[in-house]
Each structure stands twice: as structure tokens, then as C-alpha cells.
């Protein structure tokens, strides 16, 4: 008993640890969180999967054993109590009861008849016993089935735990301890996984996952265990015909559905069935659930814009999700790994965050990896997003998964395209055009009045500034100021420099359009803001981490459905145990065991005593009531 309670306490504490520490994360995440020392310690303690660790299961087994022992030892006693009338009570012991009353009656035979009727009406069963001194003891009881409550609840705990242990991975744990099975930790194709890491179709219970792209089929699933996995073979093949997400008018997902085809030699023709969340398919004792979804290799057509050269036209790149593309050559080669495509993105873009979230269209997630293996992650939206009333092409970037995404915002031009910015950027970053931009700007700023020397000097410094901006954006310009200008004049110099840069940008804008054969109209506020945003974006390019910008041009979506497959033969045990548990609890709480002894003495005295196995107010109140009722019953004529 005490042992069981201690075990339960330990289980409780272990369970709390399991809720506080996120379970079953990829192991590198833990290393980053705790550092190597604690990671190793926690791993030895099995804290990353508390509920399946050996010690947790051992405690559960002990709990089952200890509770079973308890039932084995106490049930006979309980059942005896359930049947017993305790007719052996002596007058002396009855007189020691706290709940007792005595009455004087006229005739004991008449009194006996009334007592019998009294007890029967109140649902008491009784057993009369003649005593040696001529008196008669009527031992009565009601609510004896309360005792069953103990047996039922304790049996329920054992049954539920056994069911849970069967469905947990105890069978696998045993096989692993004995060396028959081993977790595979290498990322290799399924058919190369050795037999020691495969579980056959005969495996009693499992909970495994399968990711199926549309059109694909498979007859194996994967069980993630600690930092590796096992392959679970299935007695049939599942094909995914189509995966669908439906949305509410507000954009939130309404349903996830997969059209499946079960291909099984035992079937005359494949079985078609659609599963959705809350509506699994159960076939051959294996339940197939709609669990999650992901991309299944969407085809992507991309425009790759160079960010630092003089070229403003993109090159076309074709790829799909999970396929890599290499851009550049030799040491400069960069591998682009496309990880995810999302058709719908519900974002709240209102400045105060109080507006309605809405769908902003598709985005892609990709990593850019250099020859050293260093990678940055990018999240790029296909369509320009509306921010503060203007439209921007937005791409988030981060160097490590722990960082927040930092966003590059490129202003969309009047045609909602990237081209306007890219043309301006190419002009600004073309060293061959710096002279021309500077000349035009000088002409604008000074007119014809200034002398040639002044003019040349000014023009040369504009070129220098353009070169500086070209080499490192505002940061570089700030450094130039720091190097060349003494501290007190810096602020003023910065203002002048900024004014020159934005003036030169306007010239670059006109020049770029001229070269592209476009007319430039009146300079309005719209264009001014566009130019300012473009300048900021150009300066931010130096922190973008990649020398190209990938813009999603077209796509052909292919989805994959995440299925969960389970076989849990322990489920019926658990449900059966649950029924026992509820019955037991109601019996324990709402059936009250009460006993009454009526001792009818030859001296015409009647002794009434009452007891319950639980002393509480109900007993007090019921006793008071009975005492009064008996008084009226026995002492009336």
C-alpha cells in the first residue's frame, strides 16, 4: 500500500518533468539548449522520452504488481465483509456503540414484526439470531456493494496499466535489451535499413508514421525512437491519390482530407477510402489517421536576380521542393536546398496588430549553403505584401534556426514587379555608370555657374560616394565619414552625404529608365518613397547573406499527407478498465454501507445500534431520523 503510493508519487513527479521538458525533440536541439554535459546526463536518465524510459516502465510494472498483490490479499476479506451480517455481536459490544438508542416496548413479538417491516422498507437485509439468554438479535445491513468499489477500482488500475503497457513499446524495449532489435540512426533509404531495425507485420502493437506524396504509395511506416527510427512493415500498401485542405471564408483551415487506396492481395480490388481528422480508417486492425501534411515536391519556376552585378535581368531556375540547385562555380558555388512550399499564409500585417489576419499568398522556404557547409535559411513570399499601405517583396533570413527571421523589404514598382528595383540597383551598382550619374547630378546641383575646378572636385567626390555605397551600403558610407571628417562636423557631413546619395539615386533612376527605353514622368511622392525604400533595401543587401534574390514566378503544387498508423490491442483492455473504474468510483462514493443491530430482549427492551464503515454526517443524520421513527413505531399502541 505504502509502496504503491510512493510509486505513484514518483510517477507523478516524472510525469511533470515530461510536461516541462519538451519530449522527443531532435537531439541537436537539446544539445543547444542544455550544453553537452547536461545533454549527456539527461540522455542517460532518459528525460527526452520519459514515458518510454526503462525506469518509468519498471515503475509502472511494479505498480501493477503491487496493486495486484493488494487485490489478491484484500479481496477475500472484502467479499467476506460484503456477505457477513456480523450477527456475532454481543450485547456488551453493542452497548459500546456511539450511535445507539433503547426503547421499552409493550410486546416483543409485535415489536419484532414492526422492526422487520421497518428494515425491509428501507432496503436492509437482515439475519435474526437467537441468543443464549432468550433475546433475539436482528443483524441488518444495506449498501454492502460499496465494498465492490474497492475491488473494481483497484482491478481497473491494473487492467488499464496492463493495456497501456501492451500498447506502449514494452515489447520493443525487451527485444532491444536482449539485443534482437536496434534503433537505426542513419538517414538511409528505407530498403537499405537492416533487418535488425525492422519490425515485421506480426508486431503486436505500434504507432508509426508515413508521409506519402500525392500519387505515391508505400507499405512501410517509420517509428521515431529517441534519436533514430525503426521501420514498421505493413500487411498492405497505401497509395495517396489526393490530399485536400478546405478553408473557411476567414482563411482558417476547415478540413484535412486524404483520398487513400488500400492495395492488398487479399482484396479483389483496391479499397478506396477518404480519411480526415477525427475520421480514421481501420483496416486489418490497423487504424490509419490523418495526422499532418507537408509539401510533396512542388515544382518551382524561379527568377534568380544577381544582387551586386550590373545585370538587371534574372536567370530562370527550375527546381522542386526537396531538390537542390547549385548556383555559381568553384569556391563561390552555393547550393540552394528547397525545403518547403506553402500555398496559404495567414498573416496579420496591420501596423498595430489589431486588424484582421488574411491570406498573403504562397511562400517558399529554402537554405543557401556554401562550400564550407554553412547555411542560411530564407523564407520568401511570392507576392508583394502590403505593409504600411505600400507593397514590398519580402524575404526573411536567418543564420541559425534559433534566430528570429530578419526581413529584407524590396519595394514593388508601379507594375507590382521587382524589375523597377532591380533596374535601379543594377544602375547604381554599375561602376561604369558612376561617372555619368555623378556628372548628371553635378549638373543638376550646380547648374552652369560653378567653375570647372569646383565642378570636377564635386563630381569626383560624388563618384567616390557612389563607389562607397556600392561597396557596402550606408555602413560603408558611415565609415568613410568617420575616417575623413573630424568628430564635430560628422553630423552635418552625414546629412550632406545622404542628400547627395539620394540625389544621385534619382539620377540613377532616370538613367536606368532611359537605358531601358522608358520615359520618366514628373517626380511625385510615390516615386520619392520608392526611391527611398530602394536605397534602404540596397543598403540592406549587404546583410542579406546571398548574392542573388530568388523570386518564385510559377509553381505546380504537389502535397504530401502525413499518416499515422497504429495497432493497439491494449485499447479494449483500457476501455474495459475504464468502465470498471467508473463503476468502482460510483460504488465507493455513492453507495453507503450501513449496519443496524436490533436486540430484542425478553425484558421488553429493544436496543437499536447503527454503524457505517465511514463515520460522517450522513450516518449521524440517518441515525437521528431512524431513532425518531423507531421511537414512534415501537412506542405507539
Amino acid at each position: 500500500m505504502r509502496f504503491a503510493v510512493s510509486l505513484l508519487t514518483v510517477l507523478g513527479i516524472a510525469s511533470i518533468i515530461g510536461t516541462v521538458l519538451k519530449q522527443n525533440e531532435p537531439y541537436p536541439n537539446y544539445v543547444i539548449k542544455f550544453g553537452q554535459f547536461w545533454f549527456d546526463l539527461f540522455e542517460k536518465l532518459g528525460l527526452y522520452d520519459v514515458y518510454h524510459s526503462v525506469w518509468f516502465l519498471v515503475i509502472l510494472v511494479f505498480l501493477v504488481l503491487s496493486t495486484s498483490l493488494c487485490i489478491y490479499r484484500n479481496s477475500p476479506l472484502m467479499l467476506r465483509e460484503l456477505r457477513a451480517y456480523r450477527e456475532g455481536a454481543t450485547e456488551k459490544s453493542l452497548r459500546a456503540f456511539s450511535h445507539r438508542a433503547s426503547y421499552t416496548v409493550a410486546a416483543s413479538a409485535e415489536a419484532r414484526a414492526r422492526i422487520v417491516q421497518f428494515l425491509t422498507q428501507r432496503g436492509f437485509r437482515f439475519k435474526p439470531v437467537q441468543q443464549a439468554d432468550g433475546s433475539e438479535l436482528i443483524a441488518a445491513k444495506a449498501g454492502s456493494y460499496q465494498r465492490l468499489g474497492y475491488i473494481l477500482t483497484h482491478t481497473a488500475i491494473v487492467v488499464i496499466c496492463v493495456g497501456g503497457l501492451i500498447d506502449g513499446n514494452v515489447p520493443f524495449k525487451l527485444q532491444e535489451l536482449l539485443g534482437y532489435k536496434k534503433v537505426e540512426t542513419l538517414d538511409i533509404p528505407e530498403n537499405e535499413v537492416p533487418a535488425i531495425s525492422r519490425l515485421s507485420v506480426r508486431n503486436l502493437s505500434f504507432r508509426a508514421n508515413m508521409t506519402l506524396p500525392e500519387g505515391a504509395s508505400s507499405n512501410v511506416s517509420f517509428m521515431r525512437i529517441r534519436d533514430g527510427y525503426l521501420v514498421q512493415e505493413l500487411p498492405f500498401r497505401i497509395q495517396l491519390k489526393q490530399f485536400r485542405i478546405e478553408h473557411y471564408a476567414t482563411g482558417q483551415p476547415k478540413s484535412f482530407e486524404s483520398d487513400l487506396l488500400i492495395i492488398d492481395p487479399d482484396l479483389k480490388e483496391p479499397l478506396a477510402h477518404t480519411i480526415s481528422v477525427n475520421h480514421p480508417l481501420i483496416y486489418k486492425g490497423i487504424a490509419i489517421y490523418q495526422s499532418d501534411f507537408q509539401d510533396g515536391g512542388t515544382k518551382l519556376d524561379l527568377n534568380a536576380y544577381g544582387l551586386f552585378g550590373a545585370k538587371d535581368q534574372p536567370i530562370k531556375v527550375q527546381s522542386n521542393i526537396f531538390k537542390n540547385v547549385t548556383l555559381g562555380e568553384g569556391e563561390q558555388a552555393l547550393k540552394v536546398e528547397f525545403n518547403d512550399f506553402r500555398l496559404f499564409n495567414i498573416l496579420n500585417l496591420s501596423p498595430d496588430g489589431k486588424g484582421k489576419p488574411h491570406n498573403v499568398g504562397p511562400n517558399i522556404t529554402y537554405k543557401v549553403r556554401d562550400t564550407q557547409g554553412q547555411a542560411r535559411e530564407y523564407v520568401s513570399y511570392m507576392q508583394p505584401l502590403q505593409l504600411d499601405g505600400r507593397r514590398y517583396f519580402v524575404t526573411g533570413m536567418r543564420a541559425t534556426p534559433q534566430d528570429e527571421l530578419k526581413y529584407l523589404r524590396i519595394p514593388a514598382d508601379d507594375d507590382f514587379s521587382l524589375q523597377g528595383f532591380m533596374r535601379l540597383r543594377a544602375t547604381m551598382f554599375d561602376p561604369a555608370l558612376h561617372e555619368e550619374i555623378a556628372r548628371r547630378y553635378t549638373q543638376d546641383a550646380m547648374g552652369d555657374k560653378a567653375d570647372a575646378e569646383m565642378r570636377n572636385k564635386f563630381q569626383a567626390s560624388v563618384v567616390q560616394l557612389l563607389q562607397g555605397f556600392d561597396a557596402g551600403g550606408y555602413t560603408r558610407v558611415a565609415r568613410m565619414i568617420e575616417e575623413a571628417v573630424p568628430e564635430p562636423q560628422r553630423e552635418k557631413a552625414a546629412q550632406t552625404y545622404l542628400k547627395i546619395i539620394s540625389g544621385a539615386t534619382l539620377e540613377a533612376y532616370k538613367l536606368g529608365r532611359e537605358r531601358a527605353g522608358l520615359k520618366t514622368g514628373e517626380l511625385d511622392t510615390n516615386t520619392q518613397i520608392f526611391l527611398q525604400d530602394s536605397l534602404n533595401a540596397m543598403s540592406d543587401l549587404f546583410f542579406y547573406g546571398a548574392p542573388f534574390y530568388l523570386q518564385l514566378d510559377e509553381f505546380q503544387q504537389r502535397q504530401a499527407s502525413g499518416l499515422q498508423l497504429t495497432r493497439s490491442p491494449g485499447k479494449n483492455l483500457v476501455y474495459g478498465g475504464s468502465v470498471l473504474l467508473v463503476l468502482g468510483i460510483f460504488a465507493m462514493i455513492y453507495i453507503r454501507e450501513r449496519r443496524i443491530w436490533m436486540l430484542i430482549k425478553p425484558t421488553n427492551e429493544v436496543l437499536f445500534t447503527m454503524s457505517a464503515n465511514r463515520k460522517n454526517r450522513d450516518l449521524d443524520m440517518e441515525f437521528e431520523q431512524y431513532r425518531e421513527q423507531l421511537r414512534r413505531l415501537l412506542q405507539s399502541e
Partner: protein, 381 residues
């Protein structure tokens, strides 16, 4: 003699019923029949069972606990009246006078909040002034709050279908809605014990915890606009929700009630308010009865949750933080009952424990959603 035996004899329930009881039951059955006749074609077997079950179940409840015979028809009449006022146009909640100020779901729930606050103040006033009349007023206020709260939920249910037919769902699906449910269930449980034990003095204590929830509802409404009706995510589109959530909240409500009675017990034991509060053994008994009810329903709710999980998540038990904390709450109260029933423990120890139990329960209810992540991520703050 026979007359005495007859008078004292505990009568079976059916013989104790009066004409009002029968009228009430007939009314409920007629309502159910009407609903069946109107909408039977759209119901599946499960919904039909529930319709019949509700008519029978609420009849029985009303027979056992007489005030229900007024409350349930009252909720029905006012809700139906409100629905009529809508004329199938959600915008009328802002225009029609009665809807705007009284019985649109938002207004009704606001009235519930106000009435609960007033009820609490009146209960405390009655306690300090030993005023029986004020106590009765407080009880009536609490009943009115319950009435308005249920009307609010019923109308909200209807409103959700006005937004769009596919959005419509029972209003127990997010934190805002279940907080209203929590207030109502806790208040009903209290009102039951108040009548049964004639203990108006406890009202102030129990209404404290209800008003804490009211405070949360107000903050949630005004600061987070969480009162907006949101469509159901796919995982919640299941009939299990309709029984799992209410069963759980009977548990939470009963545990909270027990904790507040426990606090009254601790005060009375130290002589504070002792002359005004019920006797210690009455407090002890109410506390026990509340935990017993809560435990039974919490067990059922957890089992129902497991059965739902088996259908939605692919396993009846996934050691999801919410599940695990439900287990911890369950073990906590199992130990409480065990010590009381088997070891005969009584008194302040159990009262303290019931109070601490409220902390554990609150963490399972709210803390898990706030601090831990998992499959139960519907009610995030």
C-alpha cells in the same frame, strides 16, 4: 401503527411527484418532439439519442432538484425569444433594442458578469449583517446570473450559425466560452448545495472564485477581443467535444467549489467568522461531497477524452502535457479521497489540501495552455 409506517416509509420517486413535475416533464418532451419533427431529418443517430436523452435527463434532474423546473424553461423561452428577434440577421444584435442591451449573446454574458459581481457583494453583506433577507436576494441574483449566462451561450450557439452555416458549433470550443461555462457550472453546483444544506453563508466564498473567472472574461473580452466567434479547427470537429468538455468543467467547477469551502473551513477553524459560518462538520461534509462529484465527473471526462484522442490523434494516451496534468489532478484527488475514506482523515489538513488542489487544477486548466505546448493547443492565451 400502519399509518406511522406509511408516513415514515421512504416513498419512491414517482409517487412523490406533483402535477408541476409532470407538467415540466411533458413540456420538455413536447419540446423534444417538436425539435425532432422539425429537424429530425438532419440528425444522425447520435443526435437523436442525445435529444431523447436530454428530455429524459433534464426531466429527472428537475424532479430531483426543483428549481431546475423553472431555470430550464426560462432559458428556453428567453433564448427562443432572442432568436426570433434576430430575424436571421447577425447585424441586428447591434440594432434591435432588446438584443443590443439585454439578450444578444454578448449582452447576456455581460449581464451574467454584472449579476455575479452583485451576488457576491450581497452574499458578503448578508454574511456580515446576518441578514436572511439579503441572503435570499443574493441567491436570486445568482440564479439570474446563471439564467443570463445560459441564455448568452444558447444565443451564441445560434449566432455562430448566422456567421456561416459551416462555422456554427456549440460554444464550448475556446477559452472564452469555457470560462463562461465554468462560471455557470460552479454556480449551479453551489446553488444545489446551498439549498441542500441551507448554507447561504458560503455564497461569498464560492462567488469569489466565480468572480475571478468573471474578471478573466472581462479582460479577455476588452483587451483581447476574444469574444469573437471563431470557426472550429478540424481536430475539434467531433461530437466527443460536446460531452468531454462539459464533463471536464463539472470536475473543475466542483474542485473549485471544494477549495472555497475549504478556505471557509480554515477561517472558521481559527475563529474568524466562525459564528456566522456553518458548523465545521457541515463545511467538511460539503467539501467532501463536492470533491466526490468532481472526481467522478473528472474521471469520466478523462476517459471520454481518451476515447476522443483515440479517434483524433491516433492513440488514447499520448502523454500530451494536458493529459499528463489531468492525470496529476486525478491522482491528487484520488489521494485526497483515499485518505478521507480509507484512513478516516478529517479536518484542516484536507481543507488545506483542497485549496492546494485548486492550484493544481488551475495549472492543468490554464497553466498548461500558457506555459507548455502540446496537442491541446486550442485555448492559448
Amino acid at each position: 401503527m400502519n399509518t406511522i409506517l406509511f408516513e415514515d416509509h421512504p416513498q419512491p420517486l414517482l409517487k412523490r411527484l406533483r402535477w408541476q413535475d409532470w407538467l415540466y416533464a411533458i413540456l420538455l418532451c413536447a419540446g423534444a418532439l417538436f425539435a425532432y419533427q422539425q429537424y429530425g431529418a438532419y440528425m444522425d443517430a447520435y443526435e437523436k439519442t442525445f435529444l431523447i436523452g436530454a428530455a429524459l435527463g433534464f426531466s429527472y434532474l428537475g424532479w430531483q432538484w426543483k428549481p431546475m423546473r423553472l431555470l430550464i424553461p426560462g432559458i428556453a423561452i428567453i433564448s427562443l425569444f432572442a432568436i426570433q428577434l434576430y430575424q436571421a440577421d447577425l447585424a441586428r444584435a447591434e440594432h434591435a433594442f432588446l438584443l443590443k442591451f439585454l439578450i444578444s449573446s454578448q449582452s447576456a454574458i455581460m449581464w451574467m458578469n454584472v449579476l455575479f459581481v452583485l451576488a457576491m457583494l450581497t452574499y458578503w453583506f448578508a454574511l456580515f449583517r446576518r441578514s436572511e433577507f439579503s441572503g435570499k436576494v443574493a441567491t436570486s441574483l445568482t440564479w439570474s446570473a446563471v439564467l443570463m449566462g445560459f441564455v448568452g451561450l444558447m444565443v451564441r450557439w445560434y449566432e455562430s450559425y448566422l456567421i456561416a452555416p459551416d462555422v456554427g458549433h456549440i460554444p464550448i470550443s475556446n477559452l472564452y466560452e469555457v470560462f463562461v461555462l465554468f462560471c455557470l457550472i460552479t454556480a449551479l453546483l453551489y446553488l444545489y448545495y446551498e439549498r441542500r444544506y441551507e448554507t447561504r453563508q458560503l455564497g461569498g466564498f464560492v462567488l469569489l472564485v466565480i468572480n475571478a473567472a468573471v474578471g478573466f472574461i472581462l479582460w479577455y473580452t476588452f483587451d483581447r477581443q476574444a469574444n469573437a466567434i471563431q470557426p472550429l479547427v478540424p481536430a475539434l470537429q467531433s461530437y466527443w467535444m460536446k460531452i468531454h468538455v462539459p464533463a471536464n468543467f463539472i470536475g473543475y467547477g466542483a474542485f473549485s467549489l471544494a477549495a472555497m469551502v475549504g478556505s471557509a473551513y480554515l477561517l472558521a477553524e481559527r475563529g474568524i467568522l466562525a459564528s456566522r459560518l456553518p458548523k465545521l462538520e457541515v463545511l467538511d461534509d460539503v467539501m467532501y461531497k463536492a470533491i466526490a462529484v468532481g472526481f467522478a465527473f473528472f474521471t469520466i471526462a478523462t476517459i471520454l477524452g481518451a476515447m476522443w484522442a483515440a479517434e483524433a490523434w491516433g492513440g488514447y494516451w499520448s502523454w500530451d502535457p494536458k493529459e499528463t496534468w489531468a492525470l496529476i489532478v486525478w491522482l491528487n484527488y484520488a489521494a485526497w479521497l483515499h485518505l478521507r475514506l480509507v484512513k478516516g482523515l478529517r479536518g484542516s489538513m484536507l481543507a488545506w489540501w483542497a485549496l492546494v488542489g485548486l492550484l493544481v487544477t488551475s495549472f492543468a486548466f490554464l497553466g498548461v495552455n500558457m506555459f507548455l505546448s502540446g496537442l491541446h493547443s486550442y485555448g492559448t492565451l
